[in-house]
Symmetry: C2
Subunit: 174 residues, 2 copies
DNA sequence: TCTACTGTACCGGCTGGACGGTACAGCGTG
DNA sequence: CACGCTGTACCGTCCAGCCGGTACAGTAGA
């Protein structure tokens, strides 16, 4: 389920994300990333000229994954809403990891990173809108997804949360 | 509306939060905090022996504010749910600032900070549960609040979000 | 009331360590 | 032997924490 380590470059991006997710932005130093990827610091800097460059590479991959996800959402057999809520709780997918990593980065690199995150959100909202034809409901469902996601990011995952939400949404159904 | 600068200690805590909120955790260095509060670094370290100590002071104040807020929620004239949702979008209150500051801190100081945030969430949920007598709805509303809050923290506030949520909740009302 | 002493609040320079980034000397493979 | 890539030594910067010192208010004793 994880991106295969095709190249040293991929290994470096995976290592960067892993460190961001598991230990936070402070721990994701160039040396730590290189070590995690099994490469020297010089080796890392050969592939990414600077830390900013590493961030750019991460965001680029995030956007690619997010657009694939929006497409998967559209064509999901259980419907976009169900798909969206289910995948808002951390599934351990590549996209999850990329999102959490980006959220961590957003604390420092405000501009670029939060722009990328906003882009991802907009892609999802677009699909919800198209499916529901109801702006208020689409927004509310996105907020619930944000909430689920926020709890995961904050290290307070709640396995029952999804059930409760589905129970409440069921009452709206009719 | 902001905590008065009664003492140098208060000024330091306010300065720390302000820097965390406005410029992120990297910018909130001891020197920067001291400068913002109008004291020297030595002066800061007189009041808070270490940066960890500064974090502890911030969390302590957060918990105090949060318990006051839970009480205000219980006794709000418009009801706890309305109060909770309204104050989930950033109102610029002391509690807001303390929460955003804590969220920023949670990126690095995983343990203590997220424990404090979990405590705050639990206090709110308790009030929602007591009011609604409906676990699923209480949880869902808290998730929506989390979503509203998350968007603010991420620098993507949406002034219309609250209206949409109220519109949807209205449909549940009957 | 003058003096000696104490505790509180604060200052600013220093140090050791970590981090981002650079330079350069290898090393294997085609 | 040339090129793609790796590893290491090093530099400048920044930061947390420490420390010697200052100012001053209060107090107690003669």
């Amino acid at each position: 389920m994880t991106t295969p380590d095709r190249s040293t470059r991929d290994r470096l991006l995976n290592a960067f994300e892993a460190l961001l997710v598991q230990q936070g932005p402070r721990a994701a130093t160039l040396e730590a990333v290189a070590a995690e990827a099994g490469v020297s610091k010089g080796g890392l800097l050969y592939h990414f000229a600077s830390k900013d460059d590493l961030v750019d590479g991460t965001l680029e991959r995030l956007l690619t994954l997010a657009h694939q996800d929006a497409e998967a959402m559209r064509t999901s057999s259980s419907g976009p809403v169900q798909y969206y809520l289910e995948t808002s709780v951390s599934t351990g997918s590549d996209l999850d990891r990329a999102l959490v990593a980006a959220a961590r980065l957003a604390q420092d690199n405000t501009e670029r990173v939060s722009a990328a995150l906003a882009q991802v959100r907009e892609a999802w909202l677009e699909v919800l809108r198209a499916e529901l034809g109801d702006e208020s409901l689409a927004r509310t469902i996105q907020l619930i997804g944000d909430g689920l996601y926020f709890n995961d990011v904050s290290g307070m995952p709640d396995p029952d949360a999804l059930e409760h939400v589905q129970q409440v949404l069921g009452r709206l159904g009719r």
